[in-house]
Symmetry: C2
Subunit: 255 residues, 2 copies
DNA sequence: ACATGTTGTGCGTTATGCGCACAAGCGTCA
DNA sequence: TGACGCTTGTGCGCATAACGCACAACATGT
């Protein structure tokens, strides 16, 4: 059963190409011109133009001059997911409560292909560091505690392939580059039930992650050595009780 | 015999229909069947099926049994907007800081058609009430302080038409239903530079909103009479300084 | 059992989107 | 200034690709 026939009669190529146009606005650049879109999507300029014009017609894109940019309406699509999974009603309050108690920022994330996808984030006003990530942001799988914890929760059989497929893009000088060593760390995370990374994604920042459900993890971070080992321990315990509370709420079963 | 261009040659109908399928997942129901999609979009079942299958192929939809549901990947689309406008980096920290100082939840919103569209939300962990809204949630224009403040910032000429176009859906028994009276309140909000509503959207809750930029407002809410009039005053002043700080950051110029 | 609701899928038709090719702007260098 | 490259916008013929009817298989309730 071939997973995707390139010429499946049941797949609307025009629709897929249009979505590629929408995906081109990934935030790397705040605005794109038609030529940019055509380049990024590999489509003919005329095709890209039709896609962009259609998105404009639907209200997802706006055009000033020759620059196209996203409108806030794209948020409504995300809103559908967040509401369907009760993120605002059941998840966010739990995150906020524990973040306040711990004085740290807590992030809920899932795996999306070879990236970590941020689902929700609780903001502690006392939080010392702010990374500027939002729901919908994507992080690397291999060099974050969140990503490694996600991989630790998967079937160990396919782990090597998953690591090989994920892009090895070291973010700091301390990022591990040896895939075997990364696999070891993931294995340890599976055993321990949590994952800690140090300075692999942001220099001087220690990341902690625990599992919540299949393909759902919870994480936080703090400056290295701020409160020493006991600070990490306290944060870890806090995350674990938070995860258990989220499990009890049970809104995160389906991805 | 082309019947005088039934539709614009530059707009891809297939793409628009596919987006309609995606929009059908607005969170009202956590999952939809093919028949539901066809009904909600008014499309032929075969067309809806092609759209859903294409979305599945792209990873935005998943299917278990006969139920289709959104995957977290839709969040990446919103992430593009949030990153392009520096919401996470420049806006959220300001919101968090003021929310902590005020002990109240602060919401940033814009207008999207005849609805208020939530852009970002800062959560104070001490906040007494949580409404369960998230970025991407939509609220009525006429019965919220956010919505009325948005209308107050628009061209007064078209105000009547805007009010007539927006759905009059009273949410509480105290919701104003007289459009003329609503127009008066909006006019007052324009004069005062802020808008206060009481129990019109949620019973017993007072909402406050101030303008940040064209089509961008900031709001908060508190239980009626919690801290009396001086509580409202303090919150209002806090919102105004928060708005001014956001203006200085200047990331909210383009919608 | 029937009746009513699904879902999957062929297939002929033609509307529809594709991309070439032309036209019009914009800057640079001689 | 004019000729040059390198953009960008758009019309139009053609072939494809999407449409939606229609049928079959299946589930559910009366």
């Amino acid at each position: 059963m071939p997973p995707a026939d390139p010429q499946d009669r049941n797949i609307a190529a025009t629709f897929a190409k249009g979505m590629a146009v929408l995906e081109a606005f990934d935030g790397q650049a705040p605005a794109l011109t038609l030529a940019d879109i055509a380049r990024l999507t590999g489509q003919d300029r005329a095709t890209a133009r039709r896609g962009a014009l259609t998105l404009m017609h639907l209200g997802y894109l706006r055009q000033d001059g020759r620059q196209f940019s996203l409108t806030p309406r794209v948020l409504t699509l995300a809103g559908g997911f967040l509401r369907a999974h009760r993120i605002g009603r059941q998840v966010q309050p739990v995150l906020n409560h524990h973040a306040g108690a711990l004085g740290a920022e807590i992030t809920l994330a899932t795996g999306d292909g070879d990236r970590v996808l941020l689902l929700a984030q609780s903001t502690a006003h006392g939080g010392p560091v702010s990374y500027g990530f939002t729901p919908g942001s994507r992080l690397p799988l291999l060099h974050t505690s969140l990503g490694r914890m996600l991989l630790a929760g998967e079937d160990p059989e396919g782990l090597e392939a998953r690591i090989a497929a994920a892009p090895i893009a070291p973010h700091t000088e301390q990022s591990l580059t040896d895939t075997a060593e990364i696999a070891v760390r993931i294995g340890r995370a599976r055993q321990a039930g949590f994952c800690i990374t140090d300075s692999e994604f942001e220099p001087g920042i220690t990341g902690i992650a625990v599992a919540v459900a299949p393909n759902v993890v919870l994480g936080s971070s703090l400056p290295r050595g701020r409160d020493g080992a006991e600070g990490v321990d306290a944060l870890l315990r806090g995350l674990q009780t938070c995860a258990s509370e989220l499990r009890q709420a049970g809104a995160l079963s389906g991805l």
